[in-house]
């Protein structure tokens, strides 16, 4: 193949991009070096391509993205006046906002009641920080005292219960001979055919007489007076 200047020009990009191989590449380079017209052309195009490859991309203008969004999705609505006010009110009536407001109110009520502020007899002076602190302090101590009393009451109750339980256990585990036993020989409605030697009333009268006699022996003064 005869490499003319026109052919060199036509295959210049192929050469620069490495698409010419072997003898083609050698013949191209041989002509490009020897030709006074082609040599500067090859050099300038080579450096131009290198320069273009190293050119950095420009940054996008910041407003461009928003302009594109406005143009494609439409401009953002800017409502003013009464319509805007009504939109704000509608926004406040949204469930999410209502839940948030309810939780804030509940928190406020808890905090205010914990601080001891009375809503029924509200006074401006009650809102002083010192008064709030005193009421909160008093409330804390009252709650603590109630807790202590409750715990001590519980302790007493548990102690009584545990003692009762202990007694029941002792009764169950006690030996049989300590317990009163019914007489096996005696049954209700039956007699053992044994007769007491003396009646019970007589025994008691004898005991009283004996005691009186002993008393008279020890205290003769009483016996004299009884003699009169």
């Amino acid at each position: 193949m005869t490499w003319t200047c026109d052919l060199i020009e036509a295959r210049l990009s192929d050469y620069l991009e490495g698409l010419l191989q072997g003898p083609e590449r050698a013949e191209f380079e041989a002509h490009a070096k020897s030709c006074a017209d082609c040599a500067p052309l090859v050099a300038s195009v080579r450096s131009l391509v290198g320069e273009m490859h190293s050119m950095e991309e420009l940054e996008t203008p910041p407003r461009l993205v928003y302009s594109i969004l406005d143009k494609t999705l439409g401009p953002r609505e800017t409502v003013t006046g009464w319509q805007g006010f009504l939109n704000v009110i509608r926004g406040l009536a949204a469930p999410k906002f209502a839940y948030g407001a309810a939780s804030v109110m509940a928190t406020l009520i808890i905090v205010v009641s914990a601080s001891g502020f009375s809503l029924r007899k509200a006074k401006l002076a009650d809102l002083r920080p010192a008064a709030l602190y005193q009421r909160a302090d008093r409330g804390v101590h009252t709650v603590r005292a109630r807790c202590v009393k409750y715990v001590s009451d519980l302790r007493v109750v548990y102690e009584i219960q545990s003692r009762l339980r202990q007694d029941e256990n002792n009764l169950q585990t006690a030996p049989q001979d300590l317990l009163p036993k019914p007489s096996p020989e005696k049954n209700p409605g039956q007699t053992d055919d044994r007769k007491p030697s003396q009646p019970r009333q007589q025994n008691r009268a004898n005991e009283v007489t004996l005691q009186m006699e002993m008393l008279a022996a020890e205290l003769p003064m009483l016996s004299e007076r009884s003699g009169r």
Binding site: A10, L41, V45, S47
Partner: protein, 167 residues
């Protein structure tokens, strides 16, 4: 979104050489993409390639609409003036963004014919593959290669005429 915006804005800027026009055209590209999203088929290449096709078509439409201005520019181009008018009228922040040589290359790009300009931009600035460029331009691969080659040579000659020689 931001990645595509940046890429499309850069293609528009390289093609027009004007920041304001590039911003307006980028908005138009996205509007057209948004409206014709139903016609996008993945078989015709990725979304980026399809969006690049839309950009290219819109740039060509824009070029044809403003052809009268281009004729005036081409008359200016024929004058053997080394001074670069676009560079002189460029905003300082743009000058800070672009290096001196990059500015000259950008200026020379706007003097290329639209067919060669779009091919060079897609290949050497966006660094697309030949197959992708073939899809975007809807021309055979041989034509793509030929346009890129002629565009590079033409660009080098324009820079030479401007008194600029890439190092």
């Amino acid at each position: 979104m931001r990645r595509h915006t940046r890429r499309i804005f850069n293609i528009c800027y390289r093609f027009t050489g004007n920041r304001t026009e590039a911003e307006d055209l980028s908005q138009d590209v996205f509007l057209r993409v948004y409206r014709t999203l139903g016609s996008y088929r993945s078989a015709h290449g990725g979304f980026a390639t399809w969006a690049t096709s839309v950009t290219r078509n819109l740039l060509i439409d824009h070029y044809r609409r403003t052809k009268r201005d281009r004729i005036t520019d081409s008359l200016d181009d024929k004058m053997p003036i080394v001074e670069n008018k676009e560079s002189a009228g460029r905003r300082p922040d743009e000058q800070a963004l672009l290096g001196e040589l990059s500015m000259q290359v950008q200026s020379a790009l706007t003097r290329l014919s639209p067919e060669l300009r779009e091919a060079v931009i897609l290949r050497d600035l966006q660094q697309l593959e030949y197959a992708e460029i073939q899809t975007v331009l809807a021309v055979p691969e041989g034509t793509v290669k030929s346009r890129i080659n002629r565009g590079r040579i033409e660009l080098a000659r324009i820079l030479q005429q401007m008194g600029v020689r890439p190092a």
